[in-house]
């Protein structure tokens, strides 16, 4: 992998026509993918015009009347727009930035485990929670976090503390709970991608390093991490794109009257005002805002990554 050396091949640029001709089999192989994106993404994407229209069932998407920026105006002038954006941003930062390194760390740790059986079992266990329905997870959360008889409070009172804190009702604990629950649920699952990347590293590098007397930490630092740098960069770039639209499910389940001041995000907002109220345009316009912010973030993250690690999406 480290032998990648793009400068050797095809340095000289040939005329476009010739290159098109030369690569035609590649274009043929690209065709199914392009058809897919046109049919399943780009055609429905035309529906974005609904953000500027008053949707009429009869007239359809393109025939409906224009309303200009009305929905955007309603949204940005509404009382809790500021709060919504702030909450969404906080949740997004937690999920896309703060949680990001944990899966990498787990993958690095699992990689250091030499007992094949232990490694296999622990990997399988860490990826279990990905399969649990959120309905079940919330019951578990409540059992752990309940005031008085919850597991956590019992531990606190056994250690001499006050065991009556109602964690789910207090806004100040909301982000911590969200963070913990998310890590618990996703760490194993997300680490698989990194494990696969680590598997792609040339083992001779480790052998050489070992002979040179490098210890574990050094090998991790100088071989493993640089080896998966590309994967980390790419996943990061794609992750930040979803900064404003992350995690409806868990938030919705953790929401209580006590923490709703911090738990209301754009996604939960859309659910309340969108489809069921027949405000199709309003919901679309909020999706558009999320997309535009995502685009800006992806482009900037891509630039930064390109400069720092030579990794780039395009």
């Amino acid at each position: 992998m480290s032998k990648r050396n793009p400068s050797v091949a095809y340095i000289q640029k040939k005329p476009l026509g010739k290159r098109l001709l030369k690569f035609w089999p590649l274009y043929v192989m690209l065709v199914p993918c392009i058809i897919y994106y046109i049919l399943f993404c780009y055609i429905p994407m035309g529906g974005i015009v609904l953000a500027f229209k008053d949707y009429s069932f009869k007239k359809g998407i393109y025939g409906s009347d224009w309303v200009g920026f009305r929905y955007f105006k309603t949204f940005f002038t509404s009382y809790d727009c500021g709060r919504l954006l702030r909450n969404t941003l906080t949740v997004g930062l937690i999920k896309c930035i703060l949680e990001f390194p944990f899966a990498i760390i787990l993958a690095l740790m699992l990689n250091e485990i030499k007992s094949y059986r232990f490694k296999k079992i622990s990997q399988t266990i860490t990826y279990l929670p990905h399969f649990l329905s959120s309905v079940i997870i919330i019951t578990m959360m409540q059992r752990i976090l309940a005031p008085n008889n919850g597991v956590l409070n019992q531990v606190i009172s056994a250690m001499g503390g006050d065991g009556s804190t109602f964690f789910l009702m207090k806004a100040k604990y909301f982000y911590q709970i969200l963070f913990g629950m998310d890590i618990w649920k996703n760490i194993g699952w997300d680490s698989i991608m990194y494990l696969a990347a680590i598997a792609g590293i040339d083992p001779t590098l480790y052998e050489a390093a070992e002979i040179d007397g490098c210890n574990r930490l050094k090998r991790m630092r100088y071989i493993t991490i640089p080896g998966i740098r590309g994967t980390i960069g790419l996943l990061f770039i794609m992750g930040v794109g979803g900064l404003l639209s992350s995690g409806f499910d868990q938030i919705f389940l953790l929401r209580t009257p006590g923490n709703m001041s911090v738990a209301d995000t754009l996604d939960t907002f859309v659910v309340r005002v969108g489809l069921q109220n027949g405000q199709f345009g309003y919901a679309t316009s909020i999706g558009l805002i999320q997309g535009i912010v995502g685009l800006i973030l992806v482009v900037s993250a891509n630039k930064i990554c390109k400069r720092m690690t030579e990794v780039s999406l395009w």
């Binding site: 089999p25 043929v28 192989m29 065709v31 199914p32 058809i35 949707y55 009429s56 069932f57 009869k58 007239k59 359809g60 309603t74 509404s78 009382y79 809790d80 919330i138 019951t139 409540q142 059992r143 309940a146 005031p147 008085n148 008889n149 009556s164 109602f166 789910l168 009702m169 207090k170 209580t256 009257p257 006590g258 709703m260 001041s261 209301d264 907002f269 309340r272 005002v273 489809l275 069921q276 109220n277 027949g278 405000q279 199709f280 309003y282």
Partner: protein, 590 residues
């Protein structure tokens, strides 16, 4: 060498494209079960109706065709026969009317969301059925929009010649809200939405232990007996508070030996709605938060001292350990758990048709506390329905579809829908239907699968719910001598009925819609968009759990400001106007 590889690549890609094409093709072929079938069956139906005049057809014959119905009602969706073609009731309908019924259901995560999506995408079949208690339910704005934009067929002409639906036009037959806001709306140029399950007679203020349930607060019988409390006498907020204190001091324990909470959550899981049950005597905003102040002005409860009174009361319950701290938030699994192991001395809400209540005899209804006017009665708005149907504007020969449901709502049709086929599932004794022992046995054993697949009739909700749901002009006691099929002889809900007889509910009639319903008016569109994100009850709970009294007051103040900035004054003014014009239009009382 090179070219052969290229050929292989091309061949593979071509094969892929072909497969894709074939897949899509297959797909279209496969969909014949649903939407694609409609035009085809319509074609045959026209051929069929040409031959109707030939002999051998019963006089109930309508047309030889298929009618496809999309239901947006979960109870219908989960109670459909696996094989409608061989189901006795479906066969009987086909035999009598020539119409083959097909009922579709898309579970999704919420019925109203599916309704919105399918209407918006224009994928509805011949007819749709959905929940609609009144014009305030969340489905209504979507149905209204669809009707207004011509998605549904106008049935006003068919109504005039109908047997049952004709009654809808008689003054006073339909509830006001149904008449004015759903069926005969002034801003519609026809009749598009048909409200369902309207009672033939107005029984709304009478309590029938067979037909009505007893809900609200439920207390453990053991505890009530030990304290010597007459549950019927616990009516005011003070009574209620004193009872909770007495329970607390009584030292009762649950099945695991832990002390009970005097007040526990709803059986179905904590919810902010239960504020209504525990604070009813100080619930000033009876019209979904609104009421008239002493000067006759429309006000929201947050503008009065009652908002704070509620918060103060709930804070007191919490502080004194009288209420389970998770009262408002406990999830359904755990809530059921604390109810079943008797950890709650009082459940905030439950009813007599929950197995926990009718199977154990451990619980008795405390019912509802007095309302702000000092009345103990449950408020009813008069008769009402709970379903709605509409025929698609695209459906061929909508009159035939209309006729079918008109027939099913007639006495003969109702008998078929509720009791099934004579000889198979019931016999006529003295002019009244009596279920066969076999059916009665399955009914008592709650063997719904059997009832659905082997008979297919509604059986008062225990069988194929669709047929029960599509009823209207309902009057089972008069026509069939019992409130539900088999209810006269059923044993399964025997205890539930007994409990209802012991603890009857009284009703008080208050006409009109809740004030918040007027947000649906076109003038209020912007106010509605702003207000749809504000939740008063959640705010009350938030204030209840605030760390200090000061903070709690701050939360209420901030909510008041939000409501004002969302356009509270506009809504109040609008409701005031409506109320002044017609006192029966808005549900206010003191």
């Amino acid at each position: 060498m090179k070219s052969t590889v290229f050929k292989k690549a091309i061949a593979l890609v071509a094969a892929m494209t072909l497969t894709m094409g074939a897949l899509a093709g297959c797909g279209r072929g496969g969909s014949s079960g649903s939407s694609a079938s409609t035009p085809a069956s319509n074609a045959t139906s026209q051929g069929g109706s040409a031959q109707t005049s030939t002999d051998g057809k019963p006089d109930t014959w309508i047309a030889d065709r298929k009618v496809t119905i999309q239901a947006y009602v979960d109870d219908i969706g989960y109670a459909l026969p696996e094989d409608t073609a061989n189901n006795p009731v479906f066969q009987e309908i086909k035999k009598r009317t020539g119409i083959e019924l097909e009922i579709l259901y898309t579970p999704s995560d919420s019925d109203s969301k599916t309704l919105a999506a399918q209407l918006a995408a224009g994928t509805i079949p011949d007819m749709i059925v959905c929940y609609l208690n009144n014009s305030v339910r969340k489905e209504f704005p979507i149905l209204y929009k669809a009707a207004k934009e011509g998605m549904f067929a106008d049935v006003s002409e068919f109504m005039k010649n109908s047997k049952v639906y004709k009654k809808y036009m008689e003054p006073g037959y339909l509830p006001d809200d149904t008449y004015k806001n759903i069926v005969f709306r002034e801003d519609f140029d026809g009749v598009y939405l048909m409200h369902l399950s309207i009672d033939a007679q107005d029984h709304s203020t009478e309590f029938d232990p067979n037909k009505d349930y007893v809900g609200g607060l439920m207390i453990q019988k053991k505890i009530a007996d030990a304290l010597g409390v007459d549950v019927k006498k616990v009516r005011t907020l003070d009574d209620f508070y004193n009872l909770l204190v007495a329970i607390k001091n009584g030292g009762f324990t649950d099945d695991n030996g832990n002390p009970v909470y005097p007040l526990g959550p709803k059986y179905w899981g904590g919810s902010v709605d239960t504020i209504d049950n525990i604070c009813r005597p100080i619930d000033w905003g009876v019209s979904d938060g609104y009421n008239l102040d002493e000067n006759g002005k429309v006000k929201h409860e947050i503008e009065t001292e009652y908002a704070w009174k509620k918060v103060e009361f709930m804070r007191k319950l919490l502080a004194e350990g009288l209420m389970n701290p998770e009262f408002f938030t406990m999830d359904s699994t755990r809530s059921e758990e604390v109810s079943r192991n008797h950890n709650s001395a009082i459940m905030a809400d439950c009813h007599n048709y929950v197995d926990l209540v009718y199977e154990t005899n451990d619980w008795v209804p405390l019912g509802i506390l007095n309302n702000i006017a000092g009345q103990q009665s449950k408020v009813t708005n008069g008769k009402s329905g709970y379903g709605c149907w509409a025929i698609s504007a695209e459906a061929k020969n909508p009159e035939e579809i209309f006729k079918l449901f008109d027939y099913l709502a007639s006495e003969e049709g109702q008998l078929l829908c509720e009791y099934g086929v004579e000889g198979l599932s019931y016999n006529m004794v003295d002019g009244k239907p009596v279920l066969t022992p076999e059916v009665q046995q399955h009914l008592d054993a709650s063997d719904h699968e059997w009832l659905i697949n082997n008979i297919g009739a509604g059986f008062g909700g225990a069988g194929c719910v669709f047929f029960d749901f599509m009823m209207t002009d309902v009057d089972p006691e008069v026509r069939f001598g019992e409130s539900r099929p088999g209810s006269g002889t059923a044993t399964v809900y025997e205890n539930a009925v007994k409990l209802a007889k012991e603890y009857p509910v009284t009703y008080v009639l208050v006409k009109g819609l809740k004030a918040s319903a007027f947000l649906n008016a076109t003038e209020m569109a912007d106010v509605k968009a702003q207000m749809s994100t504000l939740n008063y009850k959640e705010t009350l709970v938030q204030a209840t759990y605030a760390d200090s009294e000061k903070e709690a007051r701050k939360i209420l103040d901030s909510f008041k400001k939000q409501l004002e900035s969302a356009g509270l004054a506009q809504l109040e003014e609008y409701v005031q106007k409506v109320y002044d014009a017609d006192h029966d239009a808005v549900q206010f009382y003191k």
